[in-house]
Amino acid sequence: MKPAAFDYFAPKNIEEALALLGEHGYDAKPLAGGQSLVPTMNFRLAQPTVLVDLNGIDELFFIRESGDGLRIGAMTRQRAVERSPLVQRRAPLIHETMPHIAHPQIRNRGTFGGSLAHADPASELPALAVTLDARLRVQSSRGERWVAARDFYLDLFATDMQPDELLVEIAIPDLPARTGWAFDEVARRHGDYAMAGAAATVTLAEDGTIAAARLVYLSVGDFPTQAVQAEALLTGEQPTAALIRAAAETAAAQDIDPGSDIHASADYRRHLAKVLAGRVLARAVERAKMTADDRR
């Protein structure tokens, strides 16, 4: 199918883009990589009458270091993030996860900010943003504000942004010392959206106990799901295999409420959530120990 008719604007800077969004509001949509928006328009699931193409706004394409981490421009291609040595060094969890997102062709076009703004519950980047305590800078002609990732996701494909707002920049804080990370997912096919996925970070205290743990799922709820009860179970304890197993069980049993579709039943998703939690937590703990050793 082909999309319904729409007007097309290609602003050259953020200000122009914001003016257009301010003028057209609910009828307008920003066009980033188009890898989600264009298919939904072709299926007529979305019928914006105005497209504001962000691809010509150079100031939205960047990856740079800040004092406390990384700053990534919303239009930075997913492929650029995947290949960035800076991201590999300062946000290794993102680096590890990028190849799981779709296929190289799609990552060549799809953007970091587009994925975050699209808020697909099966997407990896929103879950990572919550895991890493990312902050998102949102602008409109009315002004700008910073939103914590965990406050950004409200519902299925729904974020805290207003129709006249644009996501412009994402701040990724550095991981604390003695922190390990891991990401894993299970998809039917190479490159498909996952039936379930999980990201974790674990920070060890000097005495080897878990000072902080973060476990966030994708594809098991309407938005990134933080396994708060499992995290609480882990905190302050020695990271043994038994503890990880108990945390994985708690996460799957109490922290999530997955749904069924033609690819996986709710039961199976819950089971995958347990398996994935066990795997990412174990790997995160191992890496935390290694970084602790490195620094010694």
């Binding site: 199918m1 299970v186 039917r188 096919r189 190479h190 490159g191 498909d192 039936m195 295999a241 990880i244 197993r245 994985a248 033609i262 690819h263 996986a264 039943s265 199976y268 089971h271 995958l272 398996v275 066990g278 795997r279 174990a282």
Partner: protein, 754 residues
Amino acid sequence: MRAVGSSIQRSDAVDKVTGRAAYAGDIDLPGQAWLAIVYAPSPHAHITRIDTAAALAAAGVLAVLTAADVPVNEYGLILPDQPVLCGPGSTVQAETVRWEADHLALVVAETAEQAQAAAKLVQVEYTALPVITDPLAALAPDATVIHPHPFSAFPYGQRDNTSNLLLEYHLRRSDVDEGFAQADVIVESTYRTHAQEHAYLQPEAGLAFVREDGRIEVIAAGQWMHEDRAQIAHTLGLPAERIVVRYPAIGGAFGGREDLSVQIVLALAAWKTGRPVKIVWSREESIRGHHKRHPFVIHAKWGATKAGKIIAAQMDVTSDAGAYAYTSTKVLGNATLMCLGPYEIPNVHVDARTVYTNNCPSGAFRGFGAPQGHFAAEGQMNKLAEALGMDPVELRMRNVIHDGSILATRSAVPAGCTAEEVLAEAARRGGWKKNGIGYWVLGSETDAAPLRNTQYPISIARGVGIALCFKNVGFSLGFPEACHAWVELHGTSAIERALVGCVGAEVGQGAHSAFAQIAAEALGLDVAQVEVVAHDTDVTGSSGSASASRMTFMAGNAILGAAQQALAQWQDEERPARADFVFHPRPTSGYDRKTGESDPNITYGYCAQVADVEVDMATGHVKVKRLISVNDVGRAVNPAQVEGQIEGAVAQSVGWTLLENFIQKDGRTLTPHLSNYLIPGVADVVEEIVPVILEVPDPQGPLGIRGMAEMPFIPTAPAIAAAIHNALGVWYNELPLTPEKVWRGLSANPFPQE
């Protein structure tokens, strides 16, 4: 360079790679109009009224056609049970829709957009009927009968109009009860296989127009030109000569183009409007609108003696024909025999049936009943081997058919049987060897031996499995089989150029290149001197379908016959020399309706495969690490093309086994897109496919050639299931082996871990 046996470049390669080749959708005719189809409002309903007034009045609309406009409103490859258009105005049969993709009306308009917009304006009134989706439920005495009216023709005697049973077959050999009484072990299981979508690259498309000579020409991809022509002519009430069928470039077929899709409606629309008419189906229309591989339920009970001889096999086989017959009766015929595998079994009892439902019709798809039958047969062999404590290769070796073995049909296996050879070669390459006393055993030094790593939270199990198959080459069970070809030789003293007329379809398998290679070999020419003429039904008589692994075998024989006669004329100084030849293979015979006695097939091809798998025991995800496929092809006309066929078949078969899941609910397709009907990408197939070509000549084959294109599809599913069993100790009897299903099997049969 010898023409046959060389991996020379295909004649269509450059055009297809550069985009120059014209598929039907690429062709435009001056003054063409466009066609849109109005589909059924419900999968099963009595249509009481169709109001076309609003559609007719819409912008650009030239005509709206309904059942009343179809001269003979019935068609079908084997039997004419399908209306061209459903609704009032023609026959009682046509008043009912039985399938979500039944056609109600055709809208012809100046543009595709206008036709589609007007199609939405056609108003339909109907009474819904119960939707029957389970073939076993369809057989219940009180089930609504989907086809309560007699057909104008039914090639299997008297049909019972009060039942949804389409056809049943029975095989009886000796006495199974006595056989089971002698058995030391008996294994019993119910196997279920699922529908599969062909997912060819090119969705259905075509054009039709009335030529200056008054004949109607239809340009659309198919697999058998002359059969397409006969069916189109039947519905229009015209003699076949009034129709010309032309095949443009064809983007894959796999059996999915054996039955008609857009051809009749195009011809009708062009004939009624006098305008050239074009249609291009969307992927969704294609997935909803053409048939699928048959789902089967097979209940199997097999017994064997301690000596490893199968003594009895009892099979109860049911296939879901869907709403219309398509080739269901023929697929059933194959499955009835092939559910016994390539084995000598002295006592046999098979009851097999195919049943109408309101699901998408089932029909031809690479393997044609053999993959489903072998999934059960090879599953039974593996279970017998386990019950006997015998190696699965050794058990197969003790029962495998040879030349002259008597099949359950009480007829002999045709000469050239190499089931044992392909099995032995696959076993050797897969890590088996003969031990000191000459028994086949899985060598312990191979890294494919079961291996389990269960360190929480990672737990991986590896396994190896083997399976064997046979598959008929050519049409079965008395269906008339023939192939036309002609050869024309040009030159003065020496032959400079040869034309080969043979209209076997080039569906992407490389048939036309193979025809040229065989002709060049026979004529002592370079392949570049041979031109294949194959574009339409006027070129020659019927060459039969590009199906049943028959095209190279049949056309090769026909081309060799024509080449020899043309050469004789050349010797007699005729310039150009031209000879027509019709090849008739040895006749076969249909099943006796009570006992199944018959000489079912001309000849067979053989394939054995070994699968090495790795299973993530926690998630149930199966990865095929290596798949060895040993095929006896008699003689490889073009080894690169043979390898391509093996790799393609394995990709398609791994997809069927592990991934593809065509889901219908209440007669409606839930997976009409390639985003939810998952076909494998290159990274999902197999890490390493090892194609192995054996060349043991088939005595009936041209230059020894055997058909080979379906065979490497057939053993894949049972080989993978055996490998998973080897890894996990769990039998899986139901396809597809999705991660969730594998996990459920493991949870129900916990492996001593954790």
